[in-house]
Assembly symmetry: C2
Homo-oligomer: 224 residues x 2
């Protein structure tokens, strides 16, 4: 794509004069990174409001204040943009939740409270991102399905790890634990989705409390 074949001369050392010079005092790398950033932001905004389907590359570029050329500089098509947005957003979310938990390690109730608060508050504060990761990602193409599956797995495995930390004495039962974690993640996601689709009516605390109730219930049952 960004090859510089140097047709006539057999590729001597490319002078500093060549491609990749600075512009308006900004290096090529920085300019590219800024444009990419703008596109990611614009993509989140549009995918999270208009929706992925029915959003054209033109529209994303207009929102980003860039022209199509720069879209294709960073992404090969809108699927790639969506995929990248999904990856970044979910990893941000994972980090938020991890950190929230890290501060309360050992106290199941406090951990759940902190993790869930971090989760639901993120969605409330970033409604466009929320919509992208919960709705727009679905059914785009098989690669995206796989990506979704992988992210869900990550969250489920994370939860399994936390539960095992709380019940170190308990014998591991991989399939069962994994299925349970998947279910619990689904519970959180579905509560979040309904909360979102209803316009975030209930206070965060209420949603957190109900979600916590489910986590605690299962944790208690596991302790029997």
């Amino acid at each position: 794509m960004t090859q510089t074949p140097s047709a006539s001369k057999p590729a001597a050392k490319p002078k500093a004069t060549a491609r990749g010079r600075a512009y308006r005092g900004v290096s090529i790398e920085k300019r590219r990174a800024e444009r990419r950033e703008k596109l990611l932001r614009a993509g989140t905004t549009i995918f999270g409001s208009v929706g992925f389907h029915g959003t054209s590359v033109r529209a994303i570029c207009a929102e980003a204040g860039l022209t199509e050329r720069y879209f294709y500089e960073s992404f090969s098509n809108s699927d790639a943009l969506l995929s990248e947005i999904y990856e970044l957003t979910t990893s941000q979310l994972r980090q938020l939740v991890s950190r929230a938990i890290a501060y309360r390690s050992g106290e199941p109730d406090a951990m759940a409270e902190a993790a869930l608060t971090a989760y639901f508050e993120f969605l409330l504060d970033n409604p466009h991102s929320a919509r992208v990761i919960m709705v727009e990602i679905m059914g785009v193409n098989p690669q995206m399905d796989a990506q979704y599956r992988r992210v869900m797995d990550d969250f489920a495995n994370f939860l399994v790890a936390v539960f095992r930390g709380l019940h170190p004495e308990r014998r591991h039962h991989d399939t069962r634990d994994y299925l349970l974690a998947t279910g619990l993640i689904g519970a959180m996601v579905n509560m979040a989705m309904r909360w979102m689709l209803n316009g975030y009516r209930e206070p965060v605390a209420d949603v957190v409390q109900a979600a916590r109730f489910i986590l605690i219930s299962v944790n208690n049952q596991l302790s029997q």
Copy 2:
């Protein structure tokens, strides 16, 4: 759409000769119904394999063995077809689950077992339908979002009703109960989705057991 303005004569009694005659011994109503049925089946097959997006009306008609004309006879566009498929499938599923439960009323564990078995077996037996109701429906348009919300509400309310039947003495707490039920439905759906995306690897019984564990956990916690 199917108006017969009868341009010249001011709409006298339409003779039996008029529109709507039988063809190959089949009445107009029956022919229409059969075509509609074919389209619903074809739509499920294609939406559930290729996906809703990226499926054209032409493709649906080819699968149904009909021409476009007959598509528009029954549906105004593919969104309408998807909506109808979703409605029919979820109501079938609701009925299956209701019946499964009805036979075991009063026994929480048996009820959960029966309901969940009915649910997961339906998905296993109808993978195309499964994909349509769990994946393809998402993010199509705002009306479909509302429909999804409504169906999820129905299932959640159903679950609330069951729980209240099991705990008649308990004071109702609408928002809380509703949130809990939404979470639990989400747990079942997410387990189903992962099960599906992984190609229905685990035996139904394992999935049912894990799902039941979550339901029972919450039920027990509620009993405290």
